[in-house]
């Protein structure tokens, strides 16, 4: 993986792209690609690249051109099936000078045009420039693993892997927080592309292709998830057959991601089912042991090390672990926000930021990780809850299924009647909406939205007519209502939480902060296509989550891990900010003047929240909504400070030396 950036003139009278700007853009994202820098420039376009060398280390430089020099490419990502595609293209007459997937990509596009993207099994953010047609194409993989932002001024189109790179291009590019983007983040934990949290900055939606050509722009969704609309479209085999097929596809996906690399590939181990399965499959195909990496916490509540150790023993990996203390989380927080480039509602990305540093220190550039299983094979509680709530909405007099209650009100364990009655009230909210799209997620969106009680008067006014939930549900694909309910719920989770938070703020941004690429077997094109076709009961069997995955886990991973109760990865939240010596930077960020300057929140409300949190810390009793609110406020304030008031501290344009420089500008 790498970083890409570029400037293309789209207005009349635009001057040629500035080399200095391109240098600054790439310097701002050198953490994504510290190994080599490259630039291409002509009278209309500049493409720049920061390389993290993984495939064809010697020769895969970028920007890259195709056989007749009619196309130029910068690309961040991996096309894992590049070997197979190369074989096809070679038969069609193409010749190759490198072993890189980059060259395969550009030739695939030469041959198949937009259709090339449907053949790619991998992750990508791509910018393709045709200097003769004067046509720029931007594309992003269907999951949103690789990021891509753009900004249109009157004269230029700027694009880059991270927002900081666009800001670095020209100090006249406005830097201001966007209320709608924030309101979305404070609902869904993510923006909804193309919206970002900065005014004017847009995010290319996953799976989209956007083309600039002769003053016109067009965009369409080239790749989107399909789910069965009828029995005929569903996988028709038995559970056993599905298990066999899933195992085969997952093993192939893991093998591809482990072996298609010219540098060693490591593996993240959380101690949970998903990463354990990935590690076990990697172990099966690997002739040598590989490195594994895990997080440990001093708080028992979050720590999973005993399970991690079981897995390490099982596969004999070279294991490294990082112990994360609460104070570590506070100390790293500011830098983390400079990488997430948006507010976060939980501190969970922070330990992952620290973990990727450990990976980098060990000289490893890429890791396998288990993201995607919970979304695509239905591992989350939200899917079970939605099922129970729908059942209850349709059968209001039925016996209450109390399986989920003890997690919600554990302190009422001794009074089941009270427990049941409270949970009914909590789960029963908006039950009448059970047919509405988004029903599965309303409780979470409502809880998250509690941060909006802290909005300033100006923000309430600016957002008065805005309904981000309606906008999102109105834009769902037309086939949505024809899908089974579980698939609907999954689609929402995949497109909001997975793409916009787990793969970005908690994923790519944290990995790339220390020049580490993430590889995701569960997001393999063939795995996804297959699991999306499964009958819902193969994924959520009654209330048994990730049913099929647990089945194939037998014999593959230690029983202790297989039988674990699901423990979502979490880190200490508000408690990380409180309790040790008063943190100067935090008090400064939350001071009334600073809150007022950012304009998002009401200063008195924030002071009240901060005071309450400090009081509750003494009792070690934080509510979920106060946790999210505090983390959300602190991260928003830091975002304002780093990006609006200042510019992020990561720039190093002074040291950019382009080892690949193609400058065909006419003087």
């Amino acid at each position: 993986m790498c970083g890409i950036a570029g400037i293309v003139s789209i207005g009349s009278g635009a001057s040629k792209p500035s080399l200095k700007s391109l240098e600054a853009m790439v310097g701002a994202i050198s953490h994504r690609g510290p190994d080599e820098f490259g630039v291409y420039r002509d009278n209309r376009a500049g493409l720049a690249h920061a390389r993290l060398s993984i495939v064809d280390v010697k020769a895969g430089q970028q920007p890259l051109t195709n056989h007749d020099k009619r196309l130029w490419l910068v690309f961040n990502g991996e096309i894992y099936n590049h070997v197979e595609l190369k074989a096809e293209l070679t038969l069609l007459g193409y010749s190759f000078r490198t072993q890189s997937d980059t060259e395969v990509l550009i030739n695939a596009y030469s041959e198949w045009g937009d259709g090339a993207f449907q053949r790619f099994n991998g992750q990508w953010a791509v910018a393709l420039w045709d200097p003769v047609k004067e046509c720029l194409l931007l594309s992003r993989d269907p999951h949103g693993i690789a990021p891509l932002y753009y900004y249109e001024s009157n004269s230029n189109l700027y694009f880059a892997s991270e927002v900081k790179s666009i800001f670095a291009a020209d100090e006249n590019i406005p830097r201001e927080l966007d209320p709608v983007g924030l309101d979305q983040t404070f609902t869904f934990w993510s923006i909804v592309p193309p919206q970002s949290v900065f005014k004017g900055i847009k995010e290319l939606p996953p799976g989209a292709i956007r083309v600039y050509h002769q003053g016109a722009v067009s965009e369409y969704k080239c790749l989107d998830y399909q789910f069965p609309r009828s029995r005929e479209e569903e996988f028709s085999g038995s559970v056993e057959e599905a298990g066999t097929e899933l195992l085969r596809l997952l093993a192939a996906a893991t093998k591809l991601r482990l072996q298609r690399s010219d540098v060693p590939v490591g593996c993240y181990l959380s101690g949970g089912l998903d990463s354990s399965i990935v590690a076990a499959l990697a172990h099966q195909v690997s002739s040598e042991s590989f490195s594994t990496f895990s997080l440990c916490f001093e708080d028992d509540e979050y720590d999973e090390s005993s399970f991690q150790k079981q897995m390490v023993k099982h596969i004999g990996s070279r294991h490294s672990e990082l112990l994360v203390k609460r104070s570590d989380i506070a100390n790293a927080f500011r830098q983390v926000i400079e990488h997430t480039e948006r507010p976060i509602l939980r501190t969970a990305p922070v330990p992952l930021f620290m973990l990727s540093k450990l990976v980098q220190d060990q000289g490893i550039k890429t890791v396998l990780t288990g993201e995607g299983a919970d979304e695509f094979i239905a591992g989350y509680d939200i899917f079970r809850e939605a099922k129970v709530r729908r059942f209850w909405a349709k059968n209001p007099d039925s016996e209450w299924r109390h399986l989920l209650l003890d997690r919600l009100y554990p302190y009422l364990k001794r009074s089941p009647v009270a427990q049941r009655s409270m949970a009914k009230r909590f789960f029963g909210r908006n039950l009448a909406d059970f047919r509405k799209p988004g029903f599965s997620h309303f409780p979470r969106w409502l809880s998250t939205s509690s941060i909006k009680r802290l909005y300033s008067v100006q923000y309430r006014e600016q957002l008065a007519g805005v309904d981000v939930v309606a906008d999102y549900t109105n834009a769902l694909p037309s086939a949505f209502s024809e899908w089974k309910e579980l698939n609907q719920d999954q689609y929402i989770e995949i497109t909001t939480l997975l793409a916009g938070y787990l793969l970005s703020s908690q994923g790519d941004r944290m990995l790339m902060a220390h020049s580490v690429e993430g590889r995701f077997p569960f997001l393999d094109m063939n795995v996804v296509h297959f699991v999306n076709s499964l009958p819902p009961s193969y994924k959520l069997h009654v209330l048994n989550e990730k049913f099929l995955l647990k089945k194939i886990g037998h014999g593959l991973i230690p029983r202790g891990i297989l039988q674990r109760k699901k423990q979502p990865y979490r880190a200490p939240d508000a408690l990380a900010f409180i309790g040790h010596e008063s943190i100067g930077w935090l008090n400064e960020l939350l001071a009334p003047e600073m809150i007022a300057a950012a304009g998002v929140f009401d200063p008195r409300a924030v002071t009240a929240l901060w005071g309450k949190c400090q009081k509750q810390a003494a009792k070690n009793q934080f509510s979920n909504i106060d946790n999210m609110s505090l983390t959300g406020v602190i991260s928003t304030q830091q975002l304002f400070k780093s990006f609006v008031q200042n510019t992020p501290t990561l720039r190093r344009s002074e040291n950019i030396n382009f080892s690949t420089m193609i400058d065909v500008v006419n003087a």
């Binding site: 919600l408 009100y409 302190y411 009422l412 001794r414 009074s415 009647v417 009270a418 009655s421 409270m422 009230r425 909590f426 909210r429 409502l446 809880s447 939205s449 509690s450 009680r453 802290l454 009401d602 008195r604 409300a605 924030v606 009240a608 929240l609 309450k612 509750q616 009793q621 934080f622 509510s623 979920n624 909504i625 106060d626």
Partner: protein, 79 residues
């Protein structure tokens, strides 16, 4: 008592002094103002402020889920 309870809810959960922010009969859980830990905060307030003991089986929405309910519950416990 009602104004004390209302002030507590406004202050502790909504961080506002705007008396119009909630209605006395409104369900706090349904509005998303309190979650399961928030219920414990209400219980702590009631126990500390009014000296009553809230038993596990009394922690039900009928007793704790709105300003009116809380007042009625505490009044009954005290009387």
């Amino acid at each position: 008592m009602k104004s004390e309870v209302r002030s507590f809810i406004l202050d502790n959960f909504l961080f506002t002094t705007d008396q119009g922010a909630i209605k006395d009969s409104e369900s706090l859980i349904e509005r998303g103002i309190i979650d399961s830990t928030g219920v414990l905060e209400v219980v702590s307030f009631v126990e500390e402020k009014y000296g009553v003991e809230v038993l596990d089986e009394e922690m039900i929405p009928e007793n704790l889920d709105s300003v009116d309910s809380i007042v009625a519950f505490v009044t009954k416990k005290q009387g």
